[in-house]
Each structure stands twice: as structure tokens, then as C-alpha cells.
């Protein structure tokens, strides 16, 4: 009489859940796809050459400043110009080289836009569309990828590196004991690369 009859369990929990509690970080878990995303980002990081920015990125070069390799005496404004002209000419074919340079693919400029795999796919497409295609070169890079191991993966503590038995309920990282779990929760859980 006093209480409305319960319709279903889910409804009841919906009623009881406040936005404050559901927004608490502790309740959020990463689903499998998000975990996979994190993993691939982490693995891409392993191929990086530098983890910091180019220290010379913000240097503004003064044209009149003496270049390294200039002679001290008579270092007039003309000298740097001369060295510039000399530079591309160790070969007899210097002129041609300059012309050809334009045709060369400029990877470094597009590097941040396109991944390495995209370049490989593009090259494969270019070869397969050419008239006399060399079939050995088509898709060779992807076909050569190592197959997955037949041994099950081992588990290591993310904090200390030793063998671990437990798994973080939120992000799936492994840990070996209470101590390492606390370290993980305080530092990397949900913050790792996020």
C-alpha cells in the first residue's frame, strides 16, 4: 500500500544511482577496445626516436652569423654564399641531382600525417597497378609479420617488474601485491598516456 510495487531490478538501481556517484572515477572501467587502444599507443611509443622536443626548434638563424666550418680570416658576407653553392657539387651530376630532388618522395614532411604502414600500403598499391608487376613485392611486408606465439603470455607487475598474480579491475594492468597496487593506483591507473 505504502510502496509502489517494484517493476524490475534495473529500474530500482537506476532510481538509486545519483549522477555524483556514477561519475566517480572509481566506477569507470575501461572496456576491451579502450585497453587495446592504450596498448597500441604504448607500442607505437617504442618506435619513437625521441621523447622530448627538438631543442633547436625555436632557434632563429642569423644569416650573417658565421657558419661552422667557415674560416676565421676574411669571414665576409660573401663566404657563406660560396659554401652554399659548393655544397651540392661533389659530383659531376650536381645539376641533375637538384632537378631530380623534386621528384623524390618527401617522407619527412608527411611523416606526421601518415603512418609507416600507410606508406607501405601505398607502395604495394603502386606496384600492383603497374603493368609488369613483380608479384614478390606485393604485400611482402605484411605477409612477413611474425605469427602469434603458441605460448601463453606471461604476467609481470607493472610497478616492479616481477611476476604478478593480480590484475587492476579498472585498467587491466597487472600488479604483484598491495604495495604495487597502491603505487599503480596513485600514478598510472587511468592516467597512463591518457
Amino acid at each position: 500500500m505504502f510502496f509502489a510495487p517494484r517493476k524490475s531490478a534495473t529500474n530500482a538501481s537506476q532510481l538509486r544511482a545519483s549522477t555524483r556517484i556514477s561519475n566517480l572515477e572509481g566506477n569507470r572501467t575501461l572496456d576491451e577496445s579502450a585497453r587495446k587502444n592504450r596498448r597500441t599507443r604504448q607500442l607505437d611509443g617504442l618506435e619513437q626516436d625521441n621523447s622530448h622536443d627538438d631543442p633547436h626548434a625555436n632557434i632563429i638563424w642569423n644569416k650573417a652569423a658565421p657558419k661552422f666550418g667557415d674560416e676565421m680570416i676574411g669571414g665576409s658576407a660573401k663566404k657563406p654564399k660560396k659554401t652554399k653553392d659548393d655544397k651540392p657539387g661533389p659530383s659531376v651530376h650536381g645539376d641533375k641531382a637538384r632537378r631530380r630532388k623534386l621528384a623524390r618522395p618527401e617522407f619527412n614532411k608527411q611523416r606526421f600525417k601518415k603512418s609507416f604502414n600507410a606508406h607501405v600500403t601505398e607502395q604495394t598499391k603502386a606496384i600492383s597497378s603497374s603493368a609488369d608487376a613483380d608479384y614478390r613485392r606485393i604485400n611482402a611486408y605484411f605477409l612477413s609479420t611474425a605469427p602469434p606465439s603458441c605460448k601463453p603470455p606471461r604476467k609481470f607487475c607493472a610497478a616492479c617488474g616481477k611476476t604478478s598474480n593480480y590484475c587492476c579491475t579498472r585498467c587491466g594492468a597487472k600488479y604483484c601485491g598491495i604495495k604495487c597496487r597502491d603505487v599503480h593506483n596513485d600514478t598510472r591507473c587511468m592516467k597512463w598516456l591518457a
Binding site: 625521441n50 650536381g94 614478390r136
Partner: protein, 418 residues
């Protein structure tokens, strides 16, 4: 016509370069370095030895994942190197290694640079693994070879018969020296001291104190012990580049002064372990030893015993202490007991072995050089027909591919009919 022959093994970390008649190749870093303390200049290739303070160096590398992608950077480094080693391109010919002739992936523009920019007379190309395999078949008279190249950006395993590649047997693992250094950097930065910018120091540290363990579980047990019983832990005192220029190994029990140092325990053997078990860091690929077996199983069964008797390990990452022993142990346990096994018997230095093989090949065997005229007439296809020798030719592959495509198509058509 040609006076000198230059051999260039173009590695991602170090170039191995030298003239045909010199004893050993010069190792020159294949990178341009920018230093924080020195803003007036950059260090190209060999000039890196002039750089006194190797703190937070910024590396510009022409090679990514084993393939040259930044040709301008590469050209700059080559130019500098040729000048440094007194190589006059217009009177020489060059033998050059490129991964495209093991696993074709990216366009190869090196000819343009060699012929048009530098003006070399003739060019010969091969992959480092091919050089090693041809050397073992033509000089050492071994019929088959499995070449494991543990490089800086990837590890490849490939089987050869008479120096000819069996293309199905090429296996690529995306773990190399760079990934190992980066992972070690990650671990140290998280656990002890932020070294994420000190690629140079940590790379040296990796070379100095990491080792491949023969029994991972036992080493792990040792690493878990405390104080006196622990035989794994080691302190690495970082160089300050004023009084010390190289890291110093110390016992962790010794009292320390204020110089920054790190203590490595599990990391010492867990880092190279990634090569044998990439799944440890969530890479879903098999390890090197398993890859050797997988590569052999792609070959005809009659060849397998012969392949097992000649496994050759090359590349800088194969220099880890215990790498060869671990390889023997793992491969042995996965092969039938009647197979004999030989792993890298006559390899002195895995890092320069490919260069040495190239040298002996060029001294004793005729190789197909191509000159500028031939290249201009026929272009890229000539290079692949001359330098990329595989057991199954393109035409045969074409037929089998077509066959497969037809088979794939035919059920679809049936579906449409319904």
C-alpha cells in the same frame, strides 16, 4: 674503370662502412644529433664523437622500422661520411645493403643518390641477410642457412638455399634494439629516475649490463631475494660528462655519494627477454627462437635438417651476453632430437659480420654490378631481377595468386546466384 670498392652496410643505428681492402669497417652512427648545450651546430654521423655532453640528445634518424624514409637526412650523413673516410665516389663503386631486398616494402631511391648526386660508377645491392647467406653458401660451402638479423628497428629470420631466399620463410618481428632501449627507459623512468630524455646513456647502460638469461624463472627467483642473497641487482652510476664519460658498474650495497645512479634488478634480464618473448610487453608476435622454427617449417621438409645445421645470428642486438646460448637451448628443445644444430659457429662479431661477409664475397666471387646506363634504361625492375633472388619467381607467384583469387571469387559468385 672502378678503382676502389666501398662496402656500406646501412644499419639504422650504426653504418658499417669501409673500403674493400681495409681490415674492419668503420662504425659510424647513422643519425644527426642535436644537443641542448650546443645550439650553434648539429652533429652529423661521425661528428658525434666531438659532442662532449651527451645529455638529452635529440636524434634525427633517416631509418624508420628498418627502411630509409628520410632520404635527405640520409644523403647528408652519407656525404659527410664519404668525406670523412676519404672516399671519392666518382672513381669507386659501392656495395650497399637495404632491407627492401629481403622484405620489399618502400620505394628505394638510393640509386638516384648514388649515381646522380655522388656519381658512383657501379652499384651492387643486397640485404644484409642475403650477404651472410651467400657468403655461407659460396665461401663456406654450406647448402642451407637460416639468417637471424636482430637489428635496431626489427628482427628478421629468413631461410636460404644456395644463397637464394625462400620468400615464404621470411619472418619479421617488430622488436629491435630501439624498442628495447625505449622499454628500459620507460621502466627506469617509472620506477626510479626520469631518464626519458637520456637515450644515449640508457642505450649504453643496456649494452653494458643487460644479459639474456638461460633460465628465466630461476633468474626471477634470484631477483626477488633480498640484500646479500640477491645476485642480480647492480648499480649503474650515470656519467656526468665532466669527470666520467661512461657509466660505472657498482655493487648496490656500497654506500653512494650524490651522483645520480640507478639500480637495475629484473630489468637486466627482462629487457633482452623481450626478443625471445614479445608477448611480455603485449606484442602479439612470437619470439626469435620460435620464429626460427616457423621459418624452417615454411621450407620443404627435406631441407630442414640442413637448415638447422647452419643458423647464423647477426645484428647488434645479437651481441647480448648469452644470446647464442639461449638460442641453442630454445631451438634444440623445439626440434626433433635427430636433427643436428649449429648456431653461429664462425661469427666473431655479429654487428659487423654482414660487412665481413660482403667483403669476402666481393673479393672471391663475381657479383652482378649495375652501372648508371643500365639503370637509366631499365630502372627499378632491373634491380629486383638482379639483387632480389628468390626460389619462387614472380611469374610462378602470379599464377598461384591468380589461382587463389579465382578460388576466392568463385564462392562469391555462387552466393550472388542464390
Amino acid at each position: 674503370m672502378s678503382h676502389t670498392t666501398v662496402i656500406l652496410d646501412n644499419g639504422a643505428y650504426n653504418m658499417k662502412i669501409g673500403k674493400l681492402d681495409c681490415e674492419a669497417p668503420s662504425l659510424i652512427p647513422n643519425s644527426i644529433v642535436k644537443a641542448k648545450h650546443e645550439k650553434k651546430r648539429v652533429f652529423v654521423g661521425h661528428e658525434q664523437s666531438d659532442c662532449s655532453e651527451k645529455f638529452s640528445l635529440f636524434y634525427v634518424r633517416p631509418i624508420e622500422r628498418g627502411y630509409v624514409v628520410n632520404w635527405d637526412t640520409q644523403q647528408q650523413i652519407w656525404e659527410n661520411t664519404f668525406k670523412h673516410l676519404d672516399i671519392e665516389p666518382t672513381t669507386s663503386r659501392i656495395a650497399y645493403t637495404d632491407n627492401n631486398y629481403l622484405i620489399p616494402a618502400l620505394p628505394d631511391v638510393s640509386n638516384e643518390i648514388f649515381f646522380e648526386y655522388f656519381g658512383f660508377n657501379e652499384v651492387y645491392k643486397a640485404s644484409a641477410s642475403t650477404l651472410v647467406a651467400e657468403h655461407s653458401s659460396q665461401i663456406n660451402n654450406k647448402k642451407c642457412a637460416v639468417v637471424v638479423d636482430a637489428g635496431f628497428s626489427m628482427t628478421t629470420v629468413a631461410s636460404f638455399v644456395d644463397g637464394v631466399l625462400i620468400q615464404d620463410s621470411v619472418i619479421r618481428i617488430d622488436v629491435g634494439g630501439k624498442a628495447l632501449t625505449n622499454k628500459l627507459k620507460d621502466w627506469i623512468s617509472y620506477r626510479q629516475l626520469n631518464v626519458s630524455e637520456e637515450t644515449y646513456v640508457i642505450n649504453e647502460c643496456k649494452e653494458d649490463i643487460c644479459f639474456v638469461t638461460l633460465d628465466f624463472d630461476r633468474s626471477m627467483k634470484h631477483a626477488k631475494k633480498r640484500y646479500e642473497e640477491n645476485t642480480i641487482d647492480m648499480r649503474y652510476v650515470m656519467p656526468d660528462f665532466h669527470t666520467t664519460f661512461k657509466g660505472i658498474l657498482k655493487d648496490p650495497k656500497e654506500p653512494t655519494d650524490n651522483t645520480p645512479s640507478i639500480v637495475l634488478g629484473v630489468e637486466r634480464f627482462a629487457t633482452p627477454e623481450i626478443l625471445f618473448n614479445p608477448s611480455d610487453i603485449d606484442i602479439d608476435q612470437c619470439g626469435v627462437a620460435e620464429a626460427v622454427i616457423a621459418s624452417m617449417s615454411q621450407c620443404p621438409e627435406a631441407l630442414r635438417p640442413c637448415l638447422a645445421e647452419n643458423i647464423i645470428l647477426v645484428g647488434g642486438s645479437a651481441c647480448f651476453r648469452g644470446f647464442r646460448e639461449r638460442m641453442i637451448q630454445e631451438v634444440r628443445s623445439m626440434l626433433p632430437s635427430e636433427y643436428g644444430i649449429n648456431v653461429s659457429e664462425d661469427v666473431e662479431n655479429p654487428e659487423t659480420h654482414a660487412w665481413q661477409c660482403g667483403q669476402q664475397l666481393l673479393q672471391n666471387v663475381k657479383v652482378p654490378w649495375i652501372n648508371r646506363k643500365e639503370w637509366e634504361e631499365k630502372g627499378e625492375s632491373l634491380e629486383y631481377s638482379k639483387f632480389f633472388k628468390t626460389l619462387v619467381s614472380s611469374d610462378e607467384l602470379k599464377e598461384s595468386r591468380n589461382f587463389e583469387e579465382q578460388r576466392e571469387k568463385s564462392p562469391k559468385e555462387e552466393d550472388e546466384d542464390f
